[in-house]
Symmetry: C2
Subunit: 343 residues, 2 copies
DNA sequence: TGATTGGATGGAAGCGGTTCCACGAGGGGG
DNA sequence: CCCCCTCGTGGAACCGCTTCCATCCAATCA
């Protein structure tokens, strides 16, 4: 029994007589032989695994995306190799180090450097970007700008005028510009409504991890906002916690809108802009799988839609605090007709 | 420049003259050369990656464990390869297929077949079991039995007597016997309190995914329970949803206790038995990493402790419903003195 | 000055598969 | 009866790296 024959039997390739096939299988079973995946990968050039690169993959929003990815990969026989990016220096090397380790690549909320994308392409590794737009590879995105607008308009329609924005600094490290696009939507909505943008109400912090600090700063303002639009649910939730610790009632004293609609948001009753997280993962995986089958998906641009979900953290501002009189003292003269047009 | 020399420079092994080293590095930079990880793995027998096997890894409890694992692996330079087990047939092969793909293995809430454990040992792959006890490999566990007892005793101390248990069928597929151990704790607590075990109050369903069905069945009973101990927070939460849809108030009409204390539980205000999920991941990763360094950790048995966290889903039963009169009609004769000894 | 020693270097072997090619045997057609 | 095909099979070459061994050269020592 030559090595070639055994290989052929195991891979079911080419023609092998029924007799030898049976004999090989017999011996394989007896020896409990299991082919070495690494050797096979080296020889064939295919690893049967796809890489998923995500910053802080245990974040709820990423996890919900993975919920869409995992089942598809599992049922297609691909191994899921997770590359967690937690520090800037990790990101530098990841895109390079995956070459030769994976057959395909899916990134979540990350902007791959153009140079790396070129190398990947040269290496014949298909790439799909979930939650990040790019001109030359397949992407699955939502209209963050529009989402920012939706959240802000909701607040405006409730009668709010002093609306803060809490987001991530687009440090360029993770290239997660979703937050900044949402901020643009926020600014546009304000502009369209003729509400002046007040720079002191726009708070940016790295990683979206310092919502408490932002809450404190906002509260310390001479005239605090009556509403906050946070660029992610996690930020919104953390902010609400801090606010309530400081004795502020949500939404009575302050309205809060989030973004994403992660599972937690439902339980916390958070008003938020919902994006189809799990679906984004599914679409991304579909795209990648089809690229691995040989299809050309470079032009694919999946656009998922957003939806405002109004729950319990937004309400009209207290009387006299619509913020119309920008700097004016809190004169409680408006009576009770502050509700604009609730959804 | 021979291949050997280049290899030596790249791996910083053995002696290479400063001149050649510089020259090699130069060319490497110029060519943008990146070593092929697969070939390296085949040659050295080390993959620089560790496998994590978990059933449904996107479940909150697993994710929180991974939160402990990921940072440690990342900072030690190991790749995290995730093997998601969603179907029984996947489990059969996983333990075999990891051989040759990973240097070490960490399983979560899974019972590896003894035979596979032997093969792994023979292949020199260290294994750490998180959330599953085993005699011959390193484990990180909690005392589920005691946890079941804690939850049940809490309910008993509130005055409940008709206490239901909602858990997973220990189908042997995932070998997740945590649920059944918790059930034993539940039974012991009842026995110790002299409360007879009523089989119709013990509901087991696969995957812990059918809490709604269990809730329905419980409600349909001639004399429904006044409290439920669910073997996981997810089950508890799903059950509460269903209960409330049916017009039952929690905890007014029915008390519910969960298990795990996942993040959601905090937001949902669920009373539950808290186990240090993230910490379990950290401990597991530490053990594995140290085994990878060559330490013998086979005897390691990390025992983490549990804690009852009382929130808003448990309360004394309604008057006259302590269940003392097992089958008795709901005679509302007890007056208002139903509170036993609230925590 | 010749022998000795040790550091630097080149390259072959091997890791465990897959694949291609050559070869042999058996069968059908001329 | 011989030739040619075809099918089945064995094994060499190769995938890209590490590692060991042999070689070489220069410096040190006698």
């Amino acid at each position: 029994m030559g090595v070639g024959t055994v290989s052929r039997v195991i891979n079911g390739s080419a023609a092998v007589s029924e007799a030898t096939r049976r004999r090989v299988l017999e011996v394989v079973a007896e020896l409990g032989y299991e082919p070495n995946a690494t050797a096979r990968a080296l020889s064939t050039g295919r690893t049967r695994s796809v890489g998923v690169i995500a910053p802080f993959f245990t974040r709820p929003s990423v996890i919900e995306r993975l919920r869409g990815v995992a089942p598809l990969l599992a049922s297609s026989g691909y191994q899921l190799v997770l590359f967690d990016v937690e520090r800037p220096d990790q990101r530098t090397g990841v895109f390079r180090s995956v070459i030769g380790r994976v057959d395909g690549l899916l990134t979540i909320s990350l902007a791959p450097p153009k140079a790396d994308l070129r190398r990947l392409a040269a290496a014949g590794i298909p790439v799909v970007l979930v939650d990040h737009a790019h001109e030359s590879v397949a992407t699955v995105t939502v209209d963050d700008l529009e989402g920012g607008r939706m959240a802000t308009e909701h607040l405006l329609s409730l009668g709010h005028r002093r609306i803060a924005f809490a987001g991530d600094t687009d440090d360029g490290v993770h290239g997660a510009s979703a937050s900044s696009r949402r901020c643009i939507g926020y600014q546009r909505a304000l502009a369209d409504a003729g509400v002046p943008l007040r720079p002191e109400l726009v708070k940016l912090r790295p990683h979206g991890r310092e919502a408490p600090a932002i809450a404190e700063e906002l509260l310390a303002l001479a005239t605090p906002p009556t509403a906050v639009f946070a660029a992610s649910d996690l930020q919104a939730l953390a902010m609400i916690d801090t606010l309530e610790e400081r004795g502020m009632g949500v939404p009575d004293d302050l309205s809060v809108v989030g973004f994403d609609d992660v599972e937690l948001a439902r339980y916390a009753g958070l008003t938020t802009v919902a994006q189809p997280l799990e679906d984004s993962g599914t679409r991304g995986a579909e795209l990648l799988l089809s690229a691995l089958e040989g299809d050309d998906v470079l032009q694919a641009r999946q656009h998922l839609s957003l939806e405002l979900v109004v729950r319990g953290t937004t309400a009209p501002p207290r009387e006299g605090e619509t913020g119309r009189g920008e700097h004016g003292p809190k004169t409680a003269t408006d009576g009770m007709i502050s509700q604009a047009s609730p959804t």
